[in-house]
């Protein structure tokens, strides 16, 4: 695949869970809607992949407002996975999305493990769906989401059920709101996940001092944005050192250098969420900045950076590159 005129310079393409991505930068679920919302504000064909908003079997109405509040270098949200349901997605959004020539990854969410499996079955073979991302990490809904994601055994059973229901590549999105993210990652990979993505948002709160109550209607929300990047990076580093499947890293990525940090921590690709709200072209800009960094540092392929900082802190050894075991070999 040629990066072409959008991304002159080094080859930015990567392969993750069998998906060939033009760049390692995809959109993070929830921040990009169903893609169409941003049409006209960026060239969607230049995205590594589009990960659509969390989609359930039936329409979900979401949480009462207020749903968002900005905090220092961060954004708290409590959307509650509002979405029009999988049938609406298949009928109205997927035909449009599948014409873009970009891998489409459907983020799925349910109230029970059976619903996740039913979604996997429904989307299996749907023309234009490239992969599924199981959202078992939303902090803003009672059932589903975090109820599974914070319990490795429950998460494993859920993934097993989905694995049986679909041949699509299966990505599992992990929560940072857990003591041992590596144990969780190990369990979902054992259950059949082809890749893991992290981090989802961190549970947080903001209080209105005059009103004397939390600003968000549900009290807590999920924190994203630059404030969470160091936490995300440490968790990606930990998980990448634990599992053999590709890791998709996200959490506060704003620049190409941020993305490179995630790649060097062991992510094979990255996702951009909150930055989209500030810069709708952020995924394209970040991909270009990764290319600029690679050109400046003499990297020819993205894979040369993946996990570089995650090999016992030995850093870059270009001359002995061939000696370095690949990620699968660790």
């Amino acid at each position: 695949m040629n990066s072409g005129t959008l991304f002159p310079g080094p080859d930015l393409s990567v392969t993750v869970a069998g998906l060939r991505l033009r760049t390692p930068v995809m959109t993070a679920s929830g921040a990009f809607g169903y893609g169409r919302e941003y049409a006209g504000l960026l060239d969607l064909s230049g995205l590594g992949a589009i990960v659509v908003k969390g989609t359930s079997l039936e329409p979900w109405s979401g949480n009462p407002p207020p749903r968002t509040v900005e905090t220092a270098a961060g954004l708290l949200n409590s959307i509650g996975l509002e979405n029009p349901g999988v049938e609406c997605f298949l009928e109205k959004d997927l035909p449009w999305l599948s014409g873009l020539g970009v891998p489409i990854i459907v983020n799925v969410v349910g109230r029970t493990a059976a619903e996740y499996a039913a979604l996997a079955r429904r989307l299996d073979g749907a023309p234009g769906v490239s992969a599924l991302e199981a959202n078992i990490s939303c902090p803003n809904v009672k059932e589903g989401g975090l109820a599974f994601g914070a319990d490795p055994a429950a998460a494993g059973d859920l993934v097993t059920g989905m694995r049986r229901a679909t041949r699509l590549p299966l990505i599992v999105k992990l929560t940072p709101n857990i003591t041992d993210v590596a144990a969780l990652a190990r369990r979902v990979v054992e259950a059949g996940a082809d890749a893991v993505s992290l981090i989802n948002t961190l549970v947080g709160m903001a209080i209105d001092p005059e009103a004397g109550r939390p600003i968000l209607a549900r009290g807590t929300g999920g924190l994203s944005g630059p404030a969470v990047k160091p936490v995300a990076l440490a968790m990606v580093y930990r998980v990448a050192a634990t599992v053999t499947v590709p890791v998709i890293g996200m959490g506060g990525i704003w620049t190409g250098r941020d993305a490179v940090e995630f790649l060097m921590a062991g992510a094979s690709a990255v996702a951009v969420g909150t930055a989209l709200f500030v810069d709708p072209e952020a995924p394209l800009r970040i991909a270009r900045e990764i290319g600029d960094f690679m050109a400046g540092q003499g990297y020819e392929k993205v894979g040369e950076m993946v996990g570089l900082a995650n090999t016992g802190f030995c850093g870059r050894r270009p001359e002995s590159w061939a000696d370095r075991p690949d990620q699968e070999g660790r």
Binding site: E37, G40, P65, T68, A73, N77, E82, G225, V278
Partner: protein, 303 residues
């Protein structure tokens, strides 16, 4: 879902930047609220915008951007990074300019207020649905405080079509600068200004207290015409209480909610609406479905 919209995103040059100065009340206290007006050169936005729509503006860090836009790549800790939605105060298609009027409320708007002529601001817009529907009958435009911002553009467009009265309320003398642009509007059938501190030349009280008389005067029977309102939620609710008691009137409200993406992607700016006669409710998005809503649609009890 809605069709793809064609909002413009680019760097708009600041042509003018001025702090609004109003008559200061005796004792010199302006109430502490500072308002600011920016004129941007943004022909694409000026050409496309209709009254009620907004632009989403990246706030430069306070201290001036020195002609350079605030790079989206820089999220400076302690400074706000999300865009700020600002209603289109006025738009001049011929000149390609867009006016923005805002309350300098926090560090984000303070950064905007520090913009100097020649600076460039990163703007996305116009955003929002089709704005205030413009009818042909008599119109009453009701605004409270900074809620007056989107109503100048509206009143100007309405005045081309028919009889328009503006009912503008502010808290105190120091806020009267918000009303000044309406005084310069031609062809208004009337301008009634209320102040809660009873400033000279104004009606003492709120727009809510002055509303019955304005509604009586809207049409001979007091039961036809359109009401357009923007302001604090309690004001909007009070306006709806009065308007809905007069069958035959239609009313359109510009509603605020905290918003993040501005384009309908994040679903952050939900407000409750009524979707059926049996009290069914749902959420609509202020950024995509609004910010202007038919009063009949809004779920006033939950709002």
């Amino acid at each position: 879902m809605t069709d793809e919209r064609q909002a413009w995103r680019g760097l708009a040059r600041v042509l003018a930047s001025r702090r609004l100065e109003g008559p200061v009340a005796e004792g010199g206290d302006s109430g502490g609220r500072v308002y600011h007006h920016l004129t941007l050169l943004a022909p694409e936005v000026a050409a496309a915008a209709v009254p009620g729509q907004f632009v989403h503006v990246l706030c430069p860090p306070r201290g001036g951007a020195g002609g350079a836009p605030y790079a989206p790549a820089s999220a400076t800790p302690g400074l706000p990074f999300l865009r700020r939605p600002l209603s289109v105060h006025d738009a001049d298609q011929a000149r390609g300019t867009v006016g923005l009027l805002f309350w300098v409320k926090g560090p984000g708007t303070a950064g905007l207020a520090a913009a100097r002529p020649g600076d460039r601001l990163d703007v996305v817009g116009p955003l929002g649905n089709g704005g205030f529907p413009l009818g042909l009958g008599p119109a009453l435009v009701v605004g409270g405080g900074i809620g007056l911002a989107p109503l100048l553009f509206l009143a100007r467009r309405l005045a081309r079509r028919g009889r328009v009265t503006v009912l503008a309320g502010v808290a105190q003398a120091g806020d009267l600068a918000l009303v000044e642009p309406f005084r310069r509007l031609k062809d208004l059938a009337g301008l009634i200004v209320t102040t809660e501190d009873g400033s000279p030349g104004t009606v003492s009280g709120t727009v809510v207290a002055a509303l019955p008389e304005s509604l009586d005067g809207l049409s001979p029977d007091g039961h036809s015409g359109a009401v357009y309102a923007c302001g604090p939620r309690p004001m909007l609710r009070a306006v709806w209480d009065q308007v809905s008691a007069r069958p035959g009137l239609t009313a359109w409200f510009s509603v605020e909610e905290r918003l993040a993406c501005g384009v309908g992607a994040c679903r952050g700016c939900a407000i409750p609406v009524r979707t059926g006669p049996a009290g069914e409710t749902a959420y609509r998005l202020v950024c995509r479905d609004g910010p202007v809503f038919d009063g009949n649609l809004l779920d006033w009890e939950a709002l």
